[in-house]
Symmetry: C2
Subunit: 300 residues, 2 copies
């Protein structure tokens, strides 16, 4: 029992529950998204999952590229890990034909990489407004078109495009799709096997009728990601996510909604936060495992 | 013509259009919200409106209280200004009966103050999640109840409650009503003379279907406020608003939508921004007048 000495990060409060040991059945669906331990290489993150008893990892393309795809595939297989998702494809808002073609080709390669890694989905970050462009509606339309164009390759690879609606704080510079409602409107006309959505608590917790939207998503939920909305918001909007339990999100409630859809996939913890990144990675994994078994897992 | 020497704040670029002179017909609906020149007293802000040729001012309760209501009324009347709105009432999310009663009484007083000042509306900031409370849906319901309870006094005073939907960046700590859609759902069952909504470009520019929501609002548009979404987002979320033209919002488009509803009221410029607050107030008023006649007024 490490509970008597462990401290939760980054809040620094004493742990309320013991760190679950490797093999604990409650960890059976917990996945470490690499961005939570941003300073680690893929090898370090894979090793940490294995040593802490996490059965899955959400990997990013850049650290995969650093070691090469074949090596990355071998690393996760050797460690006995599932890859819960590949981050990330998308960035589909450019109006320029050449750029759109480049992005399309790159997204096809991302689907191939996800297939090689055994990931069930590719997280699709829609992209922000092009420089100087203020037509948000048109940019959203271009995302829908670009997703549709990728459907044949998604079906060929067996990897789902997981559209990530992003908090409106990112509507200008990162993700023009702002709600589950919008993401589902893009996904629903397309084959369910090819296109789903990400439910990320940070992005959607505030959405009016989020419960109904998650229920509507049903089998379209391709990925469930958890992290926290904290106040005061950290100064860098890109690094403003918190550790579950340190903020305002009702994880019981949202997890119950996701669970009610029949979602049985992994649950990724993905935290972009300077304090989390500065901390010892193993202590971060300990903390997120505790918070997960306290706040999320009982409601799956 | 000051165009050759004037600099736009806070971007620091040379002015693209001359500063409109007092009496210019294009200023006929421009209102200075006091928060844009936060360091100024009410007297200073009133004087600046008069000297720069702005016919209206959006006043805040605190600076009014500093001089006393009667004095404030006399000041704006002597200067020949309209009061376009009183900021602010609201903060209605507490579940505790005593606090709710206090807030109700305070909001009644705010309506009285608005009536004395001749303001057509009281801006209603819904309030954030109570400390430790994660039930956003219930908090939103309490806002609806509290607005409804104020309807009789709004009708008595002839002052409209203007519900301000706030950007989801503030859903946790300031405003649980996140969209025009939600604000209208609260307003529509209540008398139109008593309850309207604020269309603030910063808060709603990203909203899916914002055009349809503004059209739906129709005569419920009680106030139109303009300020900008800029990136990178300034470090303090509360001071993250920008000068029109420095960011991503299509003011032509949103202004046309508001104008199409038949809205003929004043247009308030309300900018919470540390750089704007640090600048010379008169230079700020010059800049906002230029940006307004360039980006907003032609579409009214």
């Amino acid at each position: 029992m490490t509970v008597t000495t462990a401290v939760d990060l980054p809040s620094g409060t004493p742990a309320r529950v013991p760190t679950p040991a490797p093999g604990d059945a409650r960890l059976a669906r917990l996945s470490l998204n690499q961005k939570t331990v941003d300073r680690w290489s893929l090898a370090e993150a894979v090793d940490a999952c294995a040593s802490h008893g996490l059965p899955a990892i959400g990997v990013w393309r850049e650290p995969v590229a650093e070691v090469g795809l074949d090596t990355a595939v071998r690393m996760v297989q050797d460690a006995g890990l599932r890859v819960s998702s590949l981050c990330r494809g998308g960035f589909m808002t450019s109006p320029e034909a050449a750029t759109r073609r480049e992005r399309h080709d790159d997204n096809r390669r991302a689907l191939d990489e996800a297939a090689a890694l055994g990931a069930p989905c590719l997280v699709v970050v829609p992209g922000g407004l092009p420089h100087g462009d203020r037509d948000l509606r048109a940019a959203r339309g271009r995302v829908a078109d670009a997703v549709e164009a990728l459907v044949p390759h998604a079906l060929e690879t067996g990897v789902r495009l997981a559209i990530e609606p992003m908090h409106p704080i990112f509507a200008a510079d990162r993700g023009v799709v702002s709600t589950l409602d919008q993401a589902l409107a893009i996904a629903e006309p397309l084959p369910q096997a090819a296109v789903g959505v990400v439910v990320d608590t940070f992005h959607v917790w505030w959405e009016p009728g989020v419960e109904e939207q998650i229920a509507r998503a049903a089998d379209r939920v391709a990925s469930y990601q958890v992290c926290e909305w904290i106040t005061p918001l950290p100064p860098d909007a890109l690094l403003s996510r918190g550790m579950m339990g340190d903020g305002h999100i009702d994880f019981h409630h949202l997890t119950s909604c996701v669970s009610a859809t029949g979602y049985r996939g992994d649950v990724e913890v993905e935290i972009f936060n300077a304090d989390v990144w500065a901390a010892d990675g193993h202590a971060v994994v300990d903390t997120l495992a505790r918070r997960y078994v306290e706040l999320v897992e009982p409601h799956l």
